[in-house]
């Protein structure tokens, strides 16, 4: 792992407060994930890949925005690893960069639909932009 990657890895671990070493690779997070079919990388892969420093594919993955942040994986994990926090931390690493916002304020009018609750918009903005 080169230094830059290692730094990113350490940063993700720090932001999330997750210790990926606690994972015993049981896969209950992935078993429980309601967005499994949408995600390219699944919760257990996030944990393993961060631990291995295999960060680049995660940073580029659409999975970051497919995670529902429902925290089912956090709730069910028998070891208290909290994979959703790791997903969140990877996402933050991306959107905190300049121009990294997934959702820009200007994009919103186009997405508007009278059925979208206001709260969903606000939380989406919180989740997808810095």
């Amino acid at each position: 792992m080169n230094d830059k990657l290692k730094n990113t890895r350490d940063e993700i671990v720090r932001i999330s407060g997750v210790n990926p070493k606690k994972c015993m690779k049981c896969g209950k997070c992935t078993a429980t994930c309601p967005a499994f079919d949408e995600m390219e990388y699944h919760p257990h892969q996030f944990v393993a890949m961060v631990e291995n420093g295999d960060i680049q594919p995660l940073l580029e993955s659409e999975s970051l925005y497919r995670c529902l942040s429902c925290f089912a994986c956090v709730d069910r994990c028998p070891r208290g690893v909290e994979p959703a926090k790791l997903v969140e931390a990877v996402r933050l690493t991306v959107i905190r960069k300049k121009g990294g916002n997934r959702l820009k304020t200007d994009d919103i009018p186009a997405l508007l639909d009278e059925n979208i609750p206001q709260q969903a918009l606000v939380s989406a903005l919180r989740k997808y932009a810095k």
């Binding site: 606690k22 209950k28 992935t30 078993a31 429980t32 499994f36 257990h44 069910r76 994990c77 208290g80």
Partner: protein, 664 residues
């Protein structure tokens, strides 16, 4: 004033190579109390020991300092030498000038200097030594086994075989424990009842064994060799001595809707019951919570049909007091509650069951007479999902699961899966596992047979969610090796629930002053070398009360515990360690600090009368140490602020004398 002899050993060149032994013996000659000092090539040799004996006699020595190898090596030798010379063996101190001096220091000057200082410290200590005599206590030649499962049964049988009387105390109406509920046993698949029930009969017929069934231990006093135990025999409303176990009462009892705990409440029993056909003792018990006669005085059928006249509605709890020399704890385990595992829908569907319930469902004596039918509609299940590690290896949430591995689940699940496929080849069986742990004789072969010969689908992954839909159970799970999420429509889901120590263990540990770990498993005296003894002398551990175990392991530990008990009971008297704590009652203020830190419960209190200077009498609470129980760690001496509590052989004054000698 002591008359001390100093004996400096050369240990060939081991010591003499880096320590000027002559200089050491010369230097120590001038220490207070020293009247004789010599050095010799091998102090531990016969000639060396004779030299000590001669010197004791010639110079009227009262204390001995040997500057030699580690006391761990030859302290016992020199104590025997002292005894042979007519001295108290505890008047000997060793200055370790080999392992902790000549072997670790390179030059003669440093080595000699340090050896002299170590010698001075030993002399300073011997000056304050007092003769110590190990106390002796008689041994009651009777053992108590708490718990009548396979562990308790095996331990009791082995002790009884050696000729000692044994009592088994079992809370249930029958002995047999969990093993009596099992169907077949891995890895040989012999039927549990076929191997257990003959042992139960042996217990019943053994002259040396008494069974207190439907009973519990309520009080333990005393110490190794001399325990005073109170056992509560709960009223079973049936005279055990008269009941023949014919079962007429059970058959005629009108109250038939009592959940049957032996079948894990999957069917019903009557209010008067015998748990199962081979119960020992085979006598009926009335369940007072459901018996109409006991509840409101209306019924009395059982009394009428009992030809032996054994029914006694007025029976009371009975307390029995007995003395024991040794106590074996064999309180066993229970599966943990599944209430907190909402994700597996245990409380939502009758078709989500635990493995122990599965055992009953496949057992010929079980609620379905051995036919594998699902509880909700009694249909034959075609797809069964087994989930491993439910609550085991669960570090996230203490009230939900257990951090440890329950050890037995991998194997019994392989057994269940294999037996299902064997009997019902039309059934698809999935096992979700994190790891398959099979370290045991013929264990891995067994598991591989389940996969290779019986076609059980072993999937590396975990079940995340189970929810009932129609008459199916929707199972959502991960398949990590294929990086897939699986959705299975199952008919039956079997949870391998973690096991935990029986709830009675914690209060029992308090009574026994035996220590427990945070999971309520009893702690062994040494994790490797003394695995069947508890740190409390005279208390031994058998079976799963000490940690998760399968049957072969339980039985070996049970026999090991029995061997330890036998080796205790064959002794007529126990010789104690004389280096024990003792309390100066004139200074003790009875504050209880020492009692709280004593790991052995060796300290008790008594109210004592003291004559005061003004001729009045005051009553004070003072600590008393039982020298037979104290192991001499000295923890109590430090919490005692007044120094009333001191340790013989390592007294405050002795240690401070050593400190002073070293720092002079």
């Amino acid at each position: 004033m002591q008359r001390i002899g100093v004996f400096v050993c050369w240990c060939g060149s081991n010591i003499a190579g880096t320590v000027d032994v002559q200089a050491v013996s010369e230097a120590l000659k001038n220490e207070p109390g020293v009247v004789f000092s010599a050095n010799y090539q091998y102090m531990c040799s016969q000639a060396g020991q004779n030299m000590i004996i001669e010197a004791v006699k010639e110079h009227n020595l009262t204390g001995i300092v040997v500057c030699s190898c580690s006391p761990r090596m030859h302290e016992a030798t020199f104590r025997k030498t002292a005894a042979a010379a007519g001295l108290n063996p505890y008047m000997v101190e060793i200055a370790n000038i080999r392992e902790q001096c000549s072997w670790v220091h390179k030059d003669m000057l440093t080595g000699t200097e340090k050896a002299i200082i170590l010698g001075k410290a030993a002399v300073a200590k011997v000056n304050l030594n007092t003769p110590l005599v190990a106390g002796e206590t008689p041994v009651t030649k009777r053992a108590l086994v708490i718990g009548g499962g396979i562990a308790g049964i095996q331990t009791a049988l082995d002790i009884a075989e050696a000729g000692f009387p044994v009592d088994i105390v079992e809370t249930k109406p029958t002995i047999g424990g969990k093993m009596a509920q099992l169907d077949k046993t891995f890895p040989t698949l012999d039927c549990a009842a076929c191997i257990l029930t003959p042992k139960m009969v042996d217990v019943a017929q053994n002259e040396n064994i008494r069974i207190f069934s439907y009973s519990e231990v309520t009080e333990v006093k005393g110490f190794v060799g001399n325990f005073d135990v109170t056992v509560k025999k709960k009223a079973r409303y049936v005279n055990e001595d008269i009941c023949t176990g014919c079962g007429a009462c059970v058959e005629k009892c009108p109250m038939k809707k009592v959940p049957n705990e032996f079948n894990l409440n999957m069917d019903n029993r009557s209010a008067i019951y015998i748990p199962f056909a081979q119960a020992v003792p085979k006598v009926a018990t009335i369940d007072p919570n459901h018996c109409n006669m006991l509840k409101n005085g209306r019924c009395g059928v059982c009394s009428k049909v009992c030809a032996a006249g054994a029914i006694d509605y007025k029976q009371k709890d009975e307390y029995i007091q007995e003395k024991y020399g040794a106590i074996v704890v064999a309180t066993g385990f229970n599966p943990i509650s599944m209430d907190k595992f909402d994700e597996y829908a245990y409380n939502q569907s009758k078709d989500v069951i635990t493995s122990l319930e599965f055992e009953r469902l496949t057992n010929a004596a079980g609620p379905t007479a051995g036919k594998l039918l699902r509880p909700s509609d009694l249909k034959h299940p075609h797809t069964i999902v087994f989930v491993q590690c439910v609550g085991s290896r669960c570090a996230a949430c203490a009230e939900k699961g257990k951090e440890y591995c329950s050890k037995i689940c991998c194997m019994y699940t392989a057994k269940h899966a294999m037996l299902t496929r064997d009997k019902y080849p039309d059934t698809e069986v999935y096992v979700f596992y994190i790891d398959v742990r099979t370290p045991g004789k013929s264990f891995d072969e067994f598991y591989r047979r389940a996969v290779e010969e019986y076609g059980v689908h072993y999937i590396k992954g975990m079940v995340g969610k189970v929810f009932p839909e129609g008459d199916k159970l929707k199972v959502q799970a991960s398949d990590l090796l294929n990086n897939k999420q699986l959705h299975i429509d199952a008919d039956l889901v079997v949870l391998a629930a973690a096991i935990e120590p029986d709830k009675s263990a914690r209060p029992l540990a308090t009574m026994l002053t035996a220590s427990m770990d945070t999971n309520d498993f009893f702690t062994e005296a040494h994790p490797k070398l003394r695995p069947v003894e508890s740190p409390t002398a005279g208390v031994f551990l058998s079976g799963t009360c000490q940690g998760p175990k399968d049957i072969p392991e339980t039985v070996s530990q049970a026999s090991a515990a029995a061997a330890k008990v036998i080796s205790l009971l064959v002794k007529d008297k126990l010789k104690g360690n004389p280096c024990v704590a003792s309390s100066d009652e004139l200074m003790c203020n009875g504050c209880s600090s020492c009692e709280r830190v004593c790991p052995y419960g060796a300290i008790t209190y008594e109210d004592k009368e003291f004559r005061m200077p003004d001729r009045t009498v005051a009553i004070r609470r003072v600590a008393k140490v039982n020298p037979a129980v104290c192991q001499g760690c000295g923890c109590c001496t430090v919490v005692c602020p007044s120094g009333a509590m001191d340790l013989r052989g390592f007294a405050n004054r002795q240690i401070i004398a050593e400190v002073d000698a070293i720092c002079k």
